[in-house]
Structures are given as structure tokens and as C-alpha cells.
Amino acid sequence: MIGYVIKRLLSIVLTMAIMSVLIFWITQVMPGNVAYMILGDFAAPADIATLEAKLGLNDPAHVQYWRWASGLLRGDLGMSLVMERPIGPILADTVSKSAILAGISIGLVALVGIAVGVYAGVRHGKPADHVVSVATYLNIAVPEFLFAIVVVMLFAGYLNWFPATGYSDLSNGFGAWARHIVLPVATLVLGLMAHISRLTRSSMIDTMQSQYVRAARARGLSEWLVIRRHALPNALLPTITVLAIDVGIMMGGIVVVETIFSYPGLGRLLMFAIQNMDVPLLQACMIVITFVYAAANLTADLLYAFLNPRVRYGRSAGD
């Protein structure tokens, strides 16, 4: 187990290193000259040249990369070109806001998704199961941005229960904060729920047909006890690992949702960096996203290895 963890950690370090080169290289190709962006379009050529020399924009690519990457390792993310502030504090603030949004959403997805999946799985083949199956099938076909718009139209436009966009800090009171976060959370939950409930349903069906569930029933245990003590723990194994992967998938959804709801998180910051061609900010956002995604995938793998003894003891670990 320890060897496996070390191997996975090393591969993450390697991936992060390669990814940082890729991100740096790709974003350097971005249109727009950094010196022009700082000084404005009408700056004198001499001023541009001076600033380029000062920022080291004429250095060879590998020198520029090393300056950036070594800064990252020291925790220095550089300065935002557009906001003209250090990126570190901006990122810390937006990441924590996104984390709150994602945390609440993934918690709800887990609760509701598993409950729906177990309910349908236990009633395999009955009307309730068919309703759930059809609903999740339709749910998967709807993109997040469409859910967001429909939710806004219904609950902000017609019913006027919640604000359509914006964010209110917790310091302004819990009620205002909660009212602003309801619709983004609802969108993210709707976007991911079908995934989890379908998976839970099918693994629940498999488990309910297994030998040990039959054995538990044969011992005369009540159906509820069979489900709770024998079927559920085994059926949830794939679900739990997929939940960790979903944290990564949710990062994609968060970009869309934060953009639509003007929620000041990491996704909106990323779109801001792209729209304003703020290269250092874009690079920093990408690095943070890569890191969080890698951490989520590592958690998924470790959870799976920890919960599934077949992987833990070697053989079928795959590639």
C-alpha cells in the first residue's frame, strides 16, 4: 500500500512538471504583447523595449520558464497584468469560494444521488425504477448551462425567490449568502446527479443478486438489514471513487456556473484571465486547477485501493 502511494505521488509530481511546461508554452503563444498591455496601446516604442528588458521578455524561453516555475515552487505566482495585484491572494480568495460551492454541491450530489440510486436499484424492474431510469437518461442529455438558465428563469425570473446572479459575503449575514448560493448549487447538483444515481443503481442491482446477499437473506435477516449491512457497503465502493472523480468533473461545471451566476470563484477568474488575455493569471489558474484535479484523482485511486483489497494486494492494479 505504501509503495503504491509513493508511486502515485511520484507520477503526480512528474505530471505536474510536464503540465507546467505545457501550460507555460501554450500561454506564451497567446495573442497580445505583455508590455503593450501594461503600458497601453499608445506607448512609445522605447518604453516598450525598456519594459520588455526589465520583465525579461526577451530572454530565451527556458530562462523565462525557469523564472516562472521556480517562483511557483517558492509560492510566488506573479502579478496580474490587468488587476495589477499579486495573484496569490486573489487566487486564495477565489479558490476558497469555489471550494465552498463545490463542497456543498458534491455533498448534496452524494446524498441525493446515492439515495435515488439505492431506491431504484432495490426496486429493480418496478415502475419506480423505470421512472428513475428514464429521468436520469434525460438528465444526462441536458448541459449545465441550460440547467442554469432554466433555473434562473424559473426561480429568479418568474418566481423571484432567489437573486439571478451575484454573491453576498458571509459577513453580510447567513441569509443573504445562502440566497445567492442556492441556484448555483442547484445547477451543479442537477448536472452531476444522474451520473451518481445511475452508477449506484447498477452496482446496487449487481450486489442485490450476489451470493452474499442471498446468503444474508437465507439467514432470515430483514430486507432492510440485508440492504443496510450487506448490500450497501459493497454497492457504494464504485460510487465513492466516482464521487472523487466527480470533484474533478465539477471543476468544468464550475467554470460555466460561476460565469452564468457571476459567482466570484476560480472559474470566473479563469474566464476573466482568458477574456482579458492576462497571461500570468491564466497560467496560475491553470496550475491550480491541474493540482486540484490531480489531488482529486489521487484521492479516488487511494480510496479505491484502500476500500478494495484486490487492488491493495497487488495483482490487478491495472496500468
Partner: protein, 284 residues
Amino acid sequence: MAAVPAIDAAPRRRRLPTSLIVGTGLLGAILLLAVLGPLLSPYDLDAMRIDLRLAPPSAAHWLGTDEFGRDVASRVLNGAQSSLLMGFGATAVSLAIGVPLGLVAGYYRGWTDEVIMRAVDVMISLPPIILGLLILSVTTPSLWKTVLAVGFVYVPIMTRLTRSVTLEVATEEYIQAARARVESGWYILFREILPNAWPPIIVESALRVTFAMLLAAALSFLGLGVQPPASDWGLMIAEARPFVTQAPWIVGGAGTALCVTVIAINLFGDGLREALDPRLSRRR
């Protein structure tokens, strides 16, 4: 291969899965509408009527008009081409890159395999939409760049799948026979292995089309895909967002079209999987 028991070998025509029939029918109808769209649409795509801004559905304009007074039904009909092109085009791109990579990695093994699979690992270290954003943020957006970017995003999945099928097929006797005949590597990869590896790849591609379509729509929605004044469903939804409470028919029309298309392709893909992989259909 284990010997097949005689009882099982009795000829019994397997019925085609319902989802395949329904999916094929729906998809066929959508493809037909997409091809005939320009002929069928009652109005010119870019014809603006300022006096008819955000008009509700009526006999003249079945799905109403948008903020420029353009006919929504005509634009939804023509948006089919853009969405289908992005979904199928991107999948074709990921197949064209991923399948050869997977074949080579799975057949030659060794360091070739190691290099290809590590590269794939790096590519999947970003969530799909973020990878798409990263690629598209550095260029001026256009339809074909979106197709390429989305196709690129799904290369790792195709590579991994093709590699795993290739690993299995490569151990078969006819491959050893081909090797004994000193056939070229190209011949073995594309004429011996690929024809025997295609069913799972085709099934995955069919399901991948919808992911590609939804991702492309999301990118267009974020402003990094198809650009105005093109009639694309993702773009139409983005443009209609500010007016959604006054004119829900624009989002409704384009959104329904997008979802129905995705459901049709999903049904087709699931049906295909059931038809091609009997093991799976027996389990459920």
C-alpha cells in the same frame, strides 16, 4: 476460444434492441433535417425585422423571433449542421489520432507504449472543458478550431481504449501467423488488428459524440467556440440568455433541439453496444 456448447449454437435470430431502432430513427430524422435545413427554413437566417423583436411564437414564426427579429425556427433548423458537425467532427479527430496511437502502443509495447501512455496521462490531467479552454484561449475562435480542440480533448480516451483492445487481439493466433509471414507492421496494425478491434471502439465513439457535442456547445456558450452571427445552438442559448424571461422560446427551441439530438445519439450508442456486445445485454 472455448468450444461453444452445441445447444447454444442453435440458430436463433437475436432481435435488434429497441433503443437502437428508436435511436437510429430519431438520428436519421435529425440528420435529414440538418441536410435539408437550408431548404426547409421558412426565412433567411440573418433577415432582421426590428419591428418584430422578441415576438412570441405565432403562425408566421413558429418559434417566435430573437432580439434582432430573426426567425428562431429557421435558426434552430440550421443550427443542427453546426452541432452535428462539431459532435461527429470532433469524434473523428479523436479517432484519427487516438486509434493509431493506441494500436502502436498496444502492439509494440515497450518504451513506445510507455511514452505514448505517459503523454496520455498528462493530457488527462486537466478536466475536459478546461483543456478545451486552454487550447482555445490562445487562438481566435472559429468552428473548425473548436472541432479540433474538442477532438484533441478526447484523444486520451480513444488511445486507452484502442490500446486495451489491441493488447487482447495481439495475442490471437492469426496475428502470430501474420508475423510468421513477415507482414509489415502497418499491415498487421491496420489490416489484421483494427478490423478485429473495432466493435468497442465504434460503440465508444457513438457515445463520445454526445460528450463532444455538449462540450462544444458549452465552449460556444462561453464565447470560445462558434462566433456570431452563426446559428449554433450553444451560441443561440448564450445570446438569448439576457432575454430568457421575456422570450423563453429562443432558449426553449435551441435547448430542446440540443437535448433531443443528444438523447437520439445516446439511444443509438446504447443500442449499438447492446447489439455488438451480447455479454452486456445479458447482464441487464
